[in-house]
């Protein structure tokens, strides 16, 4: 041992350590408290916003709500009547959208995750494209739908088969649904890929080691195991699709239709677009206001119900697959 000016005794050292620890503990406590307070406040803001929206909508919308409101068409320049055609239109459009979009999205995700080489530049390019697709503003999708589906596909069919007579080359439910399917594609792809990634490698190997082909493994083991996650993606897509206005604005949504859409080539009403119309185009603002609130209430209730129903289905599937990771 070399000599030091003031030899620190073990007791002194331990006392210093105790003091330092106490300081650190106090500091940690303060930091913890501040963090809890800040995150609590943030949470409160979120809850408050939701509460304000819900209270406002329910207080103003509920009195106008009735069975007739849900089952009648709008009347008198939309200052009376209900929103039945809009509800039917939305449900039909969302079903079409799901049928068109989810298979493509799921297939894309399966290709990306199961078949594409993870290091290939093409795979990386597709992933970047999907991410970018998710970031495109919805109005751009609306214009894309108008340009591609209505004016290119629809009008093209008209030109080739109907001598330019306008049959398919105009806004229609099918075009709106396809546009919405493109918009929701990234949601489905990302959720499905996430679900596929969560399928344990052991299960794939078990299947392959039994002499299953890759296709059999994907269809019988991987996709069923990923089903809850795929369903989640579908739910997210559906609730997004139900609420969006911009993509259907130019591609199929109608300002006002006294009748229900008859076929895929009809225009349709949608609650989201109806809300926009009521709040900006009404000839009589005071007469429209309760209808507007009631429509918003129905729109919220519909999307909430959809989500809850889907969550229940998902929980059921999970129970059936106890090892399932959704």
């Amino acid at each position: 041992m070399t000599a030091v000016p003031h030899a620190i005794t073990a007791a002194e050292r331990s006392a210093a350590r105790v003091r330092a620890n106490a300081r650190r503990t106090r500091r940690n406590l303060v930091a913890d408290g501040a963090m809890a307070l800040a995150s609590g406040a943030a949470l409160l803001i979120v809850l408050a916003i939701l509460a304000i929206i819900l209270i406002d909508v329910i207080r103003n919308g509920a009195p106008r709500l009735s069975w007739a409101f849900l089952t009648e068409a709008p009347r008198d320049g939309m200052t009376a009547g209900g929103i039945f055609p809009a509800i039917v239109g939305m449900v039909e459009m969302v079903i079409l959208m799901t049928l068109a979009g989810v298979p493509v999205g799921v297939a894309t995700a399966i290709y990306l995750h199961e078949y594409a080489s993870p290091v290939s530049p093409i795979t990386r390019a597709i992933r970047i494209a999907v991410a970018n697709l998710a970031g495109v503003p919805s109005i751009v999708f609306g214009l894309f739908g108008l340009g591609f589906f209505v004016q290119f596909l629809g009008a093209g069919v008209d030109k080739v088969f109907f001598h330019g007579q306008k049959i398919y080359g105009q806004p229609a439910m099918i075009w709106a649904a396809l546009t919405m399917a493109v918009l929701t594609l990234p949601v489905v792809i990302v959720a499905t890929e996430e679900a596929l990634r969560a399928v344990p490698r052991e299960l794939r190997e078990a299947s392959l080691a039994l002499g299953a082909t890759k296709l059999q493994t994907v269809m019988h083991v991987v996709v069923p195991q990923a089903a809850p996650g795929i369903l989640t993606g579908t739910i997210l897509a559906v609730s997004r699709g139900a609420g969006e206005v911009a993509p259907i604005l130019f591609t199929g949504a109608a300002y006002f239709l006294p009748r229900l859409p008859k076929h895929l080539w009809s225009q349709f009403m949608s609650p989201s677009y109806h809300v926009y119309v009521l709040s900006t185009q009404s000839p009589d603002v005071d007469a429209t206001k309760p209808i507007l609130y009631a429509t918003v209430l129905v729109l919220l209730a519909l999307t909430f119900t959809l989500n809850i129903a889907a969550v229940v289905v998902r929980a059921r599937i999970r129970r059936r697959l106890p090892g399932g990771v959704g």
């Binding site: 392959l208 299953a212 082909t213 019988h220 106890p322």
Partner: protein, 260 residues
């Protein structure tokens, strides 16, 4: 020593010649040359990372699922090459089944787990399926324990039962060779004893190749043992010979516990 001498008077079930496995640029194991005798148990032993599992997985072409894996050399099953152009790995895996280290039952019923390989192989007649499932479960010594709850989820079984279910699942497709990758390493001693007993019984009808960490296990179940070290097959001989009169000093060091 080269593996071929000293062993294998009967025509071997699996003939491995200069098998080398690379992961990317790195050689994982090989070149390995050895003969695996039919209807006997061959154990592959060695310290972690010695390449024994990699070697095992290349016997039914499971390695090629790993990106960057490259395999050289020749493996023949009853004279049929398992590597080469135009040879379907799916067909190879139907003849050479595999049981993994961690039991990996599908999240399906016990029945559907065992029936899986049969169904994808095209067996659809339900009576035929039921008979084959019962036979496979009996061979895996699990039938008595599960016959009243075949439709229950396989995930409700204990660890040892799950592993026997995986063995039954592999047996159901009637492979000729069964590869086992440390099948008992995650099990308690009683379940391990069950599995070992089972392996002994299976060797009457099947050719079994088992990777194990556990030298006592190799000594108990295997007729032949191969010792791998640092990606190389060091010694391959009858188990009694390898454990009592190893010819390589590294084998002796390992079995006497000087490393590993």
């Amino acid at each position: 020593m080269t593996a071929a001498n000293g062993v294998a008077k009967p025509e071997p079930k699996l003939k491995v010649r200069d098998l080398t496995v690379y992961y990317g640029e790195k050689k994982a194991v090989g070149p390995v040359t050895l003969d695996i005798v039919g209807q006997h148990v061959t154990a592959l032993i060695g310290p972690s990372g010695c390449g024994k599992s990699t070697f095992l997985r290349s016997l039914n072409r499971m390695n090629e699922l790993i990106p960057g894996c490259r395999i050289e050399g020749d493996v023949r099953l009853d004279g049929d090459p398992i590597y080469g152009q135009g040879i379907d790995p799916v067909a190879v895996r139907r003849r050479i089944g595999m049981v993994f280290q961690r039991s990996n039952p599908f999240p399906k019923s016990i029945l559907e787990n065992v029936a899986y390989g049969l169904r994808i192989g095209g067996v659809n007649d339900s009576r035929d399926l039921a008979a084959r499932v019962e036979r496979a479960l009996s061979q895996a010594a699990l039938w008595e324990e599960v016959k009243d709850r075949l439709n229950d989820s396989a995930l409700g079984l204990s660890g040892g039962q799950q592993q026997r279910l995986c063995i039954a699942r592999a047996l159901a497709v009637e492979p000729e060779v069964l590869l086992m990758d440390e099948p008992a390493s995650a099990l308690d001693p009683i379940a391990t004893a069950h599995i070992e007993e089972l392996i002994n019984e299976l060797s009457e009808n099947y050719t079994v190749v088992i990777v194990t960490h556990n030298m006592q296990q190799a000594a108990r179940v295997a007729d032949y043992t191969a010792f791998f070290y640092l990606g190389e097959l060091v010694e391959f001989d009858r188990t009694d010979v390898l454990f009592t009169k190893p010819s390589d000093s590294r084998t002796e060091d390992y079995i006497t516990g000087r490393f590993g």
